[in-house]
Amino acid sequence: MSLNIDSIAGAFYGYVPFGDIVFYFTEFSLIGFIIALFFTLVVYLTKPEKQLESQIGDFGDKLNYVSLEELKIRRLMAIICGICTAFAMLTGDLFDYALFLAVIGIANMGIVSAVKKEGVLSAAFYYGIIAMISTLPLFGASALILAKTGTLSILELAKNSHDLLFQKIIYAVGMVGETGIAPFYAAKAEMFRAPGAPYILMIHLSSLLIIVRTVEIMLNIH
């Protein structure tokens, strides 16, 4: 079966095959890849912010800072999240993409959960619950697409029309639960005054890029 490169939106620059899973470069995915890698580098090089918290009705200001052990684990999680976002931009397989989303979701949880505050841990726990229940729509939808069309490759799915409206809706809902909802909980963690930048910003960026990439996939397969 020859590789179908005509039906994909945007100029096609090349591909890297790993067996059945083909990583391909188009205009869109190349730009997303470079942005994600660049921001990963920024996260690696910058130091975390410090917060000065003024006390209401009390004397003395409180300095919030990220300790060294916490910095190490949160930076590692942010880098894993960034690299996985970068490669999720390139992958050409629905199930592989779903697994990338799962890794990004669990790395987001790691970024948030290293903070030793009860409210932040609570937010990480509820985000974890959402990520766990949304494996059902995510993997279930890719299984339904495989059953209906006989393939998981985005390049092959783009060739013919298969009438996949419902499966695409479930897949998008699964994406929302796995990573799309992460900024909501990251904002919660910021609200509880966890010193976050730039690691928390990685959650926002990866979730934004993943949403755009999912829309691109959903428009390509039909």
């Binding site: 199930f95 697994l99 669990i106 841990l121 974890g128 766990m132 494996t135 059953a147």
Partner: protein, 234 residues
Amino acid sequence: MDIVSYMFSKSIFVGIVVGILSLYAISRQKSDLHTLLLTDLVECAMLVIIAAIGTDLAEALILPGLVVGLAEFLAVSEILVYRNEMRKSNLSNNKKLRLFEEFLAKEEVYVNSVNFNKMEIIYSAPKFIGFILVLYGAFLTGFTGGAIMASGLLFYLLSQGAIGNGVSLKDIKHSWEAISGFSGIMWAFWILLGFAGFFLFPEHYLFFLLIAGCALALKVGSKLGLIGSLRIRS
């Protein structure tokens, strides 16, 4: 019409029904612990839907689905345990009114103390069972082998912890980091030498296949086995 496509729509129906019932239970659930347990049921529904396809590919897709569920369960349950401990100490330490108090759930934290003295099996059996399982896991190789090796270590260390012979946190910290580092190195070994080797040097595939199988077994075995070294704290 063959049996797989005949059973397909019925299996999907069953999977969706299980999923909807467990999701409904989560939406009505107030307790955090029960919510966490019910999410496992949602993953069962996902596995039913994947298995309905009934090809070798579906069998290969079940394993990643299962492992993703397991991994998230591990992380989320540890976060829950830690959160509950912190909530308990916060409640006892400061009683004064705090900002954002409406965000904290009012659930009581129960810590059950289980009496292990009566269980004969954790005194006499663990060495033997652990030894047999580790040997059998090494014999199997691959992911299943790693999992079985890990369950042997897990059983041995957990039962040692339960009867009070467990090592304390201070003693274990260095060896823990060493073993998890070893496990991470095995993971990198498998990707760089095993997986990349298949595509770079296809003619020597046998060599890379054996590396992949053994590295994966060691990785999974050492990693999951570490969980067993947790000391049960009363």
